[in-house]
């Protein structure tokens, strides 16, 4: 069995598992953990379009995630607009915001771009902290009632949130996959690997980077809307913090940066470590959970800097080293 086929089989099995999981496992805690995994995976995949494929490491993506959360919540609270529409409105606003931010920031290269995005993230957080319309530092809260499909609030059942999160992840993966297949995807990889060569061939660096950031931030914003609907409280500390930005990049880097499914693997792993260490050690009050969490991340970073997918590639090398990029494969593992 070639690796492409194997990859496809594993991906389908994973999809089946994700779809059936909440039907089989009825414990609310495990269901909730699965939803967190899907949500974190979605953020990582969205981040990966800019940070992985285009190689522009953003450490301020929470600004876009938060924009999505705030826009849809504000529209729901002020105008009673359903979050289903608010989600796309938020994505639009976040994409527009990202273009405004990207235009000056893309003049910076490498580390300097990453540093600029941290600054942008902090600025957005500071602005929202002092903005009364957005509830300032207290944030905005959505009512527990009414529940149902249109208000996107569900009472005890976790199933709706699970399938919305899964659907959103699949949508984000689809967009990502379409990008990698299109000429934009090839240009982005060229920009990442050899920006000067790409420019000499007539690829407009800024233009394609702007495409990438708009898509990436729009998708991150959709994740923000889902967060707001699930937790019913958004505040700058939980939707706009630099810690959240780092988490988005961390799952992509742990799983395998610049690959389609790497962030998904990273998200499953990171969330599992996070939840298990907290459940196991959280009550001691000695910070043991955070120590265990940090230690595991350090171990992965030291021993497997190319991410979990990188490790899989080493363990199971492709039969033909010059395998085609196989864009049709849901697992990007076959790409060189």
């Amino acid at each position: 069995m070639s690796r492409a086929v194997l990859g496809r089989t594993i991906a389908l099995a994973a999809l089946g598992l994700a779809a059936l999981f909440p039907l089989v496992v009825t414990s609310a805690t495990w269901q909730n953990t699965a939803i967190l995994m899907l949500m974190v995976a979605q953020m990582g995949v969205a981040w990966n379009i800019l940070g992985g494929y285009a190689g522009q490491v953003s450490l301020g993506h929470a600004a876009f995630f938060g924009t999505g959360a705030y826009v849809s919540t504000l529209l729901a609270l002020r105008f009673g607009l359903t979050p289903w529409a608010g989600m796309f409105a938020g994505a639009g606003v976040a994409a527009a915001l990202s273009l405004v931010i990207g235009w000056p920031c893309f003049r910076l290269k490498g580390h300097y771009f990453a540093m600029a995005t941290i600054a942008v993230g902090e600025i957005v957080q500071a602005v929202v902290n002092g903005w009364d319309l957005l509830g300032g530092a207290v944030g905005l809260s959505l009512p527990l009632h009414p529940t149902g499909f249109w208000p996107m609030v569900f009472n005890r059942s976790k199933l709706p949130y699970h399938y919305i999160a899964l659907g959103l992840l699949l949508f984000t993966l689809l967009v990502n996959w379409l990008v990698t297949r299109s000429h934009v995807g090839y240009y982005l990889r060229a920009i990442k690997d050899e920006p000067d060569a790409a420019r000499s061939l007539g690829v407009s660096l800024t233009r394609y980077k702007l495409y990438a950031i708009a898509l990436s931030s729009g998708l991150a914003a959709m994740g923000g809307t889902l967060y707001a609907q699930k937790e019913l409280l958004i505040d700058p500390g939980s939707t706009l913090s630099t810690g959240l930005s780092i988490k988005m990049s961390l799952v992509a880097i742990m799983g395998g940066v610049g690959t389609l499914t790497g962030p998904v693997i990273g998200a499953v792993l990171l969330t599992a470590i996070e939840e298990a260490s907290r459940m196991g050690f959280g009550g001691t009050g000695r910070g043991t959970d955070m120590v265990v969490y940090g230690l595991l991340i350090v171990l992965i970073a030291v021993y497997q800097p190319s991410g979990v997918l990188g490790w899989i590639k080493q363990r199971f090398p492709a039969s033909a080293p010059a395998a085609p990029p196989a864009p049709a494969s849901p697992v990007e593992g076959a790409a060189p």
């Binding site: 909730n32 902290n129 530092a137 207290v138 944030g139 939980s238 009550g283 009050g285």
Partner: protein, 417 residues
């Protein structure tokens, strides 16, 4: 026969795996920030809650509080309280997740938490969804009891009452000592705590006829406050209302001294000014600062049970109670009182008992009139106090009356302290 044998073997194994009394314990989930910037506070809260449970479970009756030394809850045939502590890391999302785990996995009868108002909000939402009582002993954001929740109960007074107290204090100063304040300034850090307090202070100042000459918000993580203090100085206020965390409280005091800014009085809003580190760092420069509080050790002079409870806590943990730990301690007593009267661990029975709670002032280590919840779950009988640092100690100066010290007014000059 082999089937029965196997079944009984299985039962024996299962039985051995669980502590014998587990089925009879009353399990309460307690969530506090045990990691992150508030971890040391969270640990104090945890210790205080555990002490309350241990006193109720124990047999030493020397402390004159209800249920203490009964060896468990008499209303449930001596069932012991078992607290399960979880760390919400200060994150509202983790708070909701952990509340759900406590309810569905640990099958808790009730939850107490969560110190941070934002986490209390999401965690109590989860409790509301599942129909499990949530007792909040230490979050002061006003909005928490305005949500129309059925399962939410708060023993501590909220921010609006604290701000009201400060203005009652100024009114009493005028009435009883003839001290008149005209110009007030507000200085606050710009996150939830400070902005919320500043908004209320401005509202009450205007309603009470004071002139608000400056309202300045600053980022709490900043490394200097020079321009803020210069603005304050230029506004020439009589009284400065200040809401700050620890590091910025210390920084602001140092800047006042450096720039020679001396208002008539500094009325702080708890937090950094009441942290035990504040006086350690400030030394004599911290003297005569006035702050709102919910608890002070000198209250023991009026109410000996406060001193006794504090002795027990100090013997165990080496520090005195403070406003936070005393409230967490009291929260467990309020829950235990309700569960004991309910005579059941069924959520609906506990909720009904909580609604009927009527604890007297003598049953608490707080300076409150008692505990009785209104229709929103807010304790109607809560009250705040105002303390002043005098000779390196926090002493009660308001409510004025027996047991309260005379307030030092105005602030003495920085030089010659």
């Amino acid at each position: 026969m082999p089937v029965t044998f196997r079944a009984s073997l299985l039962a024996a194994i299962l039985g051995a795996a669980l502590p014998a009394a587990a089925a009879d314990d009353v399990v309460i989930g307690v969530m506090y920030p045990l990691t992150g910037s508030a971890a040391s506070t969270g640990l104090e809260l945890k210790n205080a809650a555990q002490l309350a449970a241990d006193l109720i479970n124990g047999t030493d009756k020397s402390l004159a509080l209800p249920l203490v030394g009964g060896g468990g809850l008499p209303g449930l045939k001596g069932a012991k309280l078992r607290l399960i502590f979880v760390d919400h890391q200060g994150s509202p999302q983790v708070g909701a997740t952990e509340a759900e785990r406590l309810i569905t996995q640990e099958k808790v009868a009730a939850i107490q938490g969560a110190y941070f108002s934002s986490v209390t909000q999401t965690a109590s939402q989860t409790a509301e969804r599942y129909g499990v009582p949530f007792l909040n002993a230490d979050s002061s954001s006003v909005g928490l009891t305005q949500r129309g929740f059925k399962w939410f109960f708060r023993t501590t007074p909220h921010d609006e009452l604290f701000v009201q107290n400060a203005f009652d204090f100024l009114r009493d100063l005028e009435k009883k000592k003839g001290i008149k304040v005209h110009r007030v300034a507000i200085l606050a850090e710009n996150t939830e705590f400070g902005t919320g307090a500043a908004r209320l202070q401005e509202k009450y100042a205007k309603e009470n006829g004071y002139e608000v000459v400056a309202k300045i918000l600053y980022p709490p993580k900043g490394t200097q406050l020079t321009s803020e203090v210069q603005k304050l100085k230029a506004a020439r206020p009589d009284v400065v209302f200040q809401s700050s965390y620890l590091a910025d409280a210390i920084l602001s005091m140092r800047t006042y001294k450096d720039l020679g800014f001396l208002p008539t009085a500094l009325l702080a809003n708890d937090a950094g000014f009441n942290d035990s580190e504040f006086l350690k760092t400030m030394g004599k420069d911290g003297n005569d600062v006035i702050s709102r509080e919910v608890w002070a050790l000198d209250l023991a002079a009026q109410k000996p049970v406060i001193g006794k409870a504090n002795d027990i806590y100090k013997a165990r943990h080496g520090v005195n109670f403070n406003g936070n730990s005393a409230r967490a301690f009291t929260g467990i007593f309020a829950l235990a009182d309700a569960i004991n009267r309910a005579g059941s661990t069924k959520p609906e029975a506990i909720r009904a008992a909580l609604k009927a709670t009527n604890m007297g002032a003598d049953q608490l280590i707080m300076p409150w009139g008692g505990i009785q919840f209104d229709e929103n779950g807010q304790n109607k009988k809560g009250a705040g106090i105002i303390v002043q640092v005098q000779d390196g100690k926090y002493v009660t100066v308001w409510p004025m009356g027996p047991g309260a010290k005379d307030v030092v007014w105005p602030l003495p000059a920085w030089e010659g302290r």
